[in-house]
Structure formats: C-alpha cells, structure tokens
Amino acid sequence: MTLRLFLFFCGILFCQYSLAQNRPAINLDEVEVADLALKKYADSQSVQKLNDSIIRKNQPSLTHLLNFSTGIYFKENGLGMVSSPSFRGTTAQQTAVVWNGININSQLTGQTDFNTITTSDFNSISVRAGGGSSFYGTGAIGGSIHLNTDLRFKDEFSNRLLINYGSFNTLRINYQLKFSDEKVSFFGSISRNSSDNDYEYLNSDLKNENGNFVNSSFNIGFGYKLNATNILKIYSQVYDGERYFSLINPTDTRTKYQDLNTRNLADLTTFLGNFTSNIKVGFLSEKYKYFENISNENFNFGHVETLLAKYNLSYKISSKIQTDFVADFNQNKGNGSDIQQEKRTIGGLGLQFKHTLNSKLAYDWSLRQEITDNYKSPLLFSVGSVFKPVAFYKLKVNVSQNFRIPTFNDLYWFGAGNVTLNPEKSLQGEIGNVFQFENFSFTATVFHSKIKDMIRWLPQNGGVFQPINTYHVSILGGEFAMNYHKKIEKHHFDFNANYSYTKSDNEKTNKQLTFVPFHKSAASASYSYKQFSAFYQYLFVGEVFTQTDNDPQKVVQSYTVSNLGISTFLDAKKHFKLGLSVLNLFNENYESVENRPLPGRNYAINLNLNY
C-alpha cells in the first residue's frame, strides 16, 4: 500500500515536470556518480576521499585501508577475520556502508564486516564523518563509508592487472577494465584473494591456526546516454567468500563462515531544464552460512533479499538555491535457521535544501521521515552551514538526528527476538575548522553526540539473551588532520596525519564503551621521483577496555604499527610497475582483540600492469 502511494506521488511529480521540460542538459562530461547526497549535501561535514592510488597502496581490505588513513578504529578477530569498526566512538552497527548511494549494511546483523569488502574493486572510497541518516537511513550515526563506481563519458580505454603475493601464501589478484566514449561508459573490476594466513605468533610457539580464507568478487558499472536528456546506469557487485575462523586455543572447535552478497542497481537520470529526475531500482541479497564444527556438515544460515526503489527529484531554483525531493521504498525478506521468516517494508520521504547566500556563507538542511509499522520512526534531520570569511579558512557547523533500526536478528531470533524494540536514536553536533593553503591544509573538528536506547543482547529471565533498549551513550571527541604536499621539479612529497580523541561513555555507569580507544593516530608519507616511489605508513591505537566495568586489568594494550613500500616502473612508458611492501616493519607484537595476535613483520611483492 505504501509503495502504491509513493509511485502515485512520484508519478504526479514526474508528469508535471516532464511537461515543464525545455532545455537540453549541459554538464555531461563530468564524472557520473550514483551517490547524489554525497556530491551535493556534504559541504558542512568532513568528507575524506581515498582515490585509486591510495587504495592500491594498501592491502585490498576495507579494514586495512581505513585503519591506516582515517580515524576509524577497527577490532579484528585476527587478520582477515570478522572486523568491526568504531567510528567516532560508536558501535559497529552505527557506521553505514553505502555502495553507489545504497546502504548495504547487513539486515541480519546491522553492520558490515569490513573484511568482506575488496577495496580494489572501487575507483574511489569516501569517508563521511558524522550523521547521515537523513540521506542514508539506518546506521549513519558515527559516519558512513561510500564505495563508489565512478563512470566517465569521454574517450578512454584502459586495462590494469595487479598481482600481489606475500607472506603466508597470500595471493591477491585484481583486474580492471575501463572503456568509454561520449555515449557509453564501462567500468569492470574482478578480484580474488586467498591466504593460508598461518602466521606465527610473536614470542610464542603457537601460530594462527584455521585462519585460511579465500574470496572472489566483482564490481561493474555501465552507463549509457540514451539521448541528450537521459542516462541509464547499471551497477552490479558480487562478493563470495569463505573464511575459516582462527582459533584462540589450539584445541578450540574449528569453525568456518561463508558469505555470499549480491548487489544490483539500475539508475535512470533525466535532465529536464532546472529539474533532474533520478530513479533507482535495486535488488540486494545477503547470505551467510556458519559451520560451528567443520568436522561435520551442519551449519546455521541467514538470508535476506532486499528490493528497493528510490526516486529523487532535484530542482535548481537558481544558481544559488537547489532542492531535492526523495521518496523511497524498501522491502526486506528474511529467513534463516535461527530467525523466523519475515518481511519488512519501509517507506521514506525526504526533502533537502541548499542555499549559497554569497561567496562567504552557505547553509543546507535535510529532513527524512521513514514510515513502517515495524518501529517508531523519529524525524531524521540534518542542518549545516559553511562560513568562509577568508580564502584560506572555512568554518563548518552541522547538527543532525540519526538512528539505527533493530535488525532481523534483533526482531525475529527464535525464542529471543524482541519485536517491541525501538531504534537507537542519536542527536549530534559538530564544529569543523578547515585551513587550506597552497601546499598545506589542516582541519580541526569537535563533535558531541547523545545516543539513546542502545540495543544490547542481555540475559533476561531464565538466562536467555534477548535484545532490549538499554542505556544511553554520551560521546565527546576531537579530530585533527593535516596534509602537506610539495613538488620540487620531479620530486613529489606528500604527508598526511590525523589524530582523534574519543570519550564514549555509558551514561548509566560513566564507563567508556568497550573497544573504543581514547586515542588513535595514523600518518603516511610518500615520495616519488621519476620512475621510483616510496611510502611509509604509521598507526597508533591506544588501549581499549574489553569489559564494561573498565577493569584496568582487562584491556587490549596500545600498539604502533608501521608499513613501508617501494616501487618502480620497469619501462619508460610506465606500463609495468614492480613493488615491495614490508608490513609491520618493526615487528610489533600486537592484537586488536584479546588473545587474537596479528602478524609480525611480513612481506609482499606486487606487479602492476597497465595498458
């Protein structure tokens, strides 16, 4: 019923504006992106774009990439195992992962396992800090990670093969193909990663047992200009992986886990004078199988299929004012060995507005209301402003209300699910200062958020764990980042550093949340000269508590990890590039979860072929 209402509503608007059509479109040679809100409504927040060259420098897991280049903290159950982020002091379910504008966090767990995203499949990844639920819905509280498939409409053809082989028999292969002209654009990437992952633990005679993994994935984007006013884009992504879960004690029961995720999206953009209409239709599916003992064939599984439709109408009122209207519809159908078979339908309506008053001051706001009989839905909003009094300085202010809805597991787990759960709700604000000079930039941001009704699985009567809305959380933090780059003749230098401080308190106990460090810092330096280039990466993660009572004996110690890489082109035309990386250069004995050591010094060689 809600769907019909929306389509009707959209239909009316669409017809009206079709009639109003007059001029042909103009701006068609820039990069086409599917994530409209990231492009248009992120000025008052901090967005860090990680381009292709940064992605390639890192190991192709989202955990590795973001750990060494952002303030996001990661908790990893051993290398390549389940990886959960904490962004600005929030939980793993409070970080949204967005693929081409679509929120892809698991409907079952509410989070994305950051070791199930192969970064080499995307041409850019953006990190948007702070609330974004009024654009992306559930989970965009700490921030959102945007996986982008950019399409360009100009004459281009390129082929790229990356082969990376390293310690522990780790083989990573990625092939990318791009071709485009003024009418058609194609981007395709296919990857395969595998590793025995049997690294020896430092200062111990044990090694990482049962930790081997293999995964394959592809990501495709195809754009076609139907005519002067219509562009059709199709995106598709598949991830298929199997991981054995590494053991803590050698006699632990051996388990493994399989993921199969598919994502498909069709996107039609129509330019109608000052109006731009965009329709998206998507189909996502996620499936996991958990083998609790690999000596037999028994497994638990969960499976959710999502059908979505999203309509966005943009209206450029003047060169300084624009507004967007959004209507969307989501239907999730879930079943599994441990959850009831259920269907969930969510509709959403959004309005966004941006006004540039003059060269110094701009503001924007957005509203989103979700409609469902599943949970009580708060009004989601975001209000922001950018003030630029002088050329080198910008002041950014943003306030938003965001949420995280209960998951299928929370609602429908056999014998434990709680259908009366409310969403976790967050009200937050931030002030950012950006200093931008020719070769140097510096940003300083403070943020504060209050999160209500945290959903936690806690023992209820009879000792059965059930999800309930529990305590509130108060977070206060600061982020500092700088970049310096310089080019002297053929020498290029680039230096980045960031530091974040996060205090994230359970308001009832005044204790820091578990697995949220007070301090985290990452830095990288790179240098290139003619054919040769080198980089150095540094990461410091402060101590974290593993227990909610903050017992000072029950912590994961702080650690410092460095990586070093060198590479050189082998030919004058820069078709072949050979590189060597040393990971954990100083052989730090460290772990991010207690008793799950991460590898000591290890090596990788990589070969890069470009045509």
Partner: protein, 346 residues
C-alpha cells in the same frame, strides 16, 4: 556471528555439579597447599580464557585467577564449564577449547592436560578408576551428544558412549551413571548407564527438561523446568529407576540449581532463592529471599551457607554473595568474568 556467540555463552551455562565436595578425612591441621580450606569459584570467562578464584576460609581473602598464578604461561581454555575431583586431583573442563586441565586441587599446580576426545565437554564424575565426561557436540544436533570415558591411569579418553539424546549433568551412584538429557528447555529424560559395561540400561522420562539433579539416600531428585510450564521436582528410586513422586512448583517457571542440604532442598528462579523440606508434598511459591544478583548464574548450599554468583551483564567482573540459610547476607566480593559455580576444598 556475534549472536551465535551470545548463544554459545547462554548454552555454556551455569550451574555447578552439586555433589562435588569430598569429605574424605584429610587431617585438618596440615594444609595440603595454598588452596586447602576454602572455596574454588569457577569463572566461565570468554572464548579465550576462563579462570578460577579462591576464597580462603582462614584469612577470608580472595585470590583471582589462581591457575595462572601457579602456572605462568598456561591457560585453562575458553568457557570453563565445571570442575570434578578424584582424590587430590581437580579436573577443570573448558567447553570452548575441548580440553580438561588436571591440577592438584590444593596447590593448583598443573599435572596434565587432556586435549583429545571431547566435543564441547560439560560435566564429569569419577567411578572405579575412570572419569565420565558429558559432551554436547553440535549445538544444533540434539542426538549427537556423548560421554567420554577417561582412563585415569593414562589420562586419555579410551572410549565414548553415544547417548542419542542431550548429555548435560552427570551423577554417579553405585556403579551407575545418571545423565540428564535436558538443556535450555529441550529434552525431557534421564539416561542410566552401567559404568562397568558402558551400556545404556534405561531412559527415564521426567516430562519436562531436567535443569539440575542430586542424589540423596538412594533417591535421585531431578528439578525440571522450561520457559513455559510450572517447574517440578521428580523423585526417582534408584533401586528400580521408577519415579515415585512428583512435586509441582506452582507458578514457578524455569526453576534451576537444585541443591540438597540437611533434608532441605534449595533452588532458584531468576534471582530468587527458594527452600523447602525435601519430603514436602505441597510447594510454597514464596521465596526464602531474593538475592542481590542481577544475573544469578551459579548457586549452591554448603555447610549452612548459601552461595550465589552474579554474572551481571556477562561483560564485567562477576560477584559472589554468601548468605546464611535464613537469607541474611554474610559476605560479598568480586570475582572474574561470568562466575558459574562453587567447589569446596575442606
């Protein structure tokens, strides 16, 4: 995954083996080790490690993680479920790591580790030179559970007894093993095994899921409950394996932790502690007292003291409360993560 782990914790449940104390006439004046004369408290812990705390009867002091203190560099394994004893040896069962750590019960010095032949081991007893340990095996399969038979001379598992039913608590009496076939409301019987032949003799249907049991004067008392029905106490005559009486505990859902002391039976429903005469024919639904535990997890009665452990939110250090038999708090102290049971060195 996280949820699965939570359920693992829930399954890797509580309650101790009640018949563990071993009053075998040790001379009271010569301490047999640092941990003679006191209470051992098992802290289940998490997937990486559980611990044992010790309350010293003489000094009233509490020591944490006594196994690591006595055996540096060694660990008990994940999810420590229970302990059983053979003379001066303590067998500490880790269900997450499928191993049993054998220590001297008074010094807590490591003797050996038994690391093969288990699949999620739960509880154990000793009979005639052998130890019998229940195993849950696959959580999703209720018919693959078994009993591992350990030869106490070789300290190796020499055989297994498939039960074709859940294997949880185990009691030994007169050469017979009584294994409760219940876990979290599922399963409704007791399997009787002849320890001399490893053969299943019979299965006694007790109606609803057995949560705990204790042998007393030739009778097996089985407390049964689930999340919907009135709990009940079933009395079985071990001479002929016949049920001779059933006492319905009206209005009491999911009663747990049966402990018999001085002809009185004690049990718990959530945080409330109940007591009544073992020969009573009607049951009172009024608790003796309600304990201070937010999550009552371990419970036993010994020498006129009621021991309660609190697992709290399963993610912070637990607490122990000791009451007298009138329910007056005598002592309260912190222990390790998720305390699940008490054992007595005296």
């Amino acid at each position: 995954m996280k949820i699965t782990r939570l359920f693992f914790v829930a399954l890797a449940s509580s309650i101790l083996l009640n018949s563990c104390s071993d009053d075998d006439g040790n001379s009271p004046n010569i301490p047999l080790g640092a941990y003679d004369e006191g209470v051992l408290i098992v802290n289940e812990g998490n997937a990486s490690a559980g611990t044992v705390s010790f309350l010293d009867d003489e000094t009233d002091l509490v020591s944490q993680d006594i196994f690591s203190a006595e055996n540096p560099g060694e660990g008990l394994g994940g999810f420590v479920q229970s302990i059983f004893f053979d003379d001066d040896k303590a067998f500490i069962i880790s269900n997450g790591s499928n191993k049993i750590t054998v220590v001297n019960r008074y010094t807590f010095k490591l003797i050996t580790k038994i690391e093969t032949g288990f699949n999620v081991p739960r509880y154990g007893v000793v009979e005639n030179g052998k130890a019998y340990v229940t195993n849950l095996a696959s959580f999703t399969n209720l018919t693959d559970d078994f009993v591992s038979v350990i030869n106490l001379n070789t300290m190796l598992v020499e055989s297994t007894i498939p039960l074709n039913a859940i294997a949880e608590r185990i009691v030994e009496e007169n050469g017979k093993l009584y294994i409760s076939n219940g876990s979290y409301g599922v399963g409704n019987s007791i399997t009787v095994v002849n320890a001399a032949t490893n053969a299943i003799e019979t299965t006694i249907d007790v109606g609803i899921s057995p949560t705990s049991m204790e042998e007393e004067d030739g009778f097996l008392y089985v407390l049964c409950g689930n999340n919907v029905a009135n709990s009940k106490l079933v009395k079985i005559n071990l001479a002929n394996n016949q049920i001779i009486s059933e006492l319905v505990l009206m209005g009491l859902i999911n009663a747990q932790n049966l402990s018999i002391e001085d002809d009185k039976m004690y049990f718990t429903v959530n945080s409330a502690v109940y007591a009544q005469n073992i020969s009573a024919t009607t049951a009172s639904s009024t608790p003796l007292f309600t304990s201070g535990a937010t999550t009552l997890y371990g419970f036993t009665v010994e020498d006129d003291k009621i021991y309660v452990s609190d697992a709290k939110d399963y993610a912070s250090n637990g607490e122990v409360f000791i009451y007298n038999t009138s329910g007056v708090l005598q002592k309260q102290f912190n222990v390790g993560l998720i305390p699940n049971g008490f054992y007595f060195n005296d």
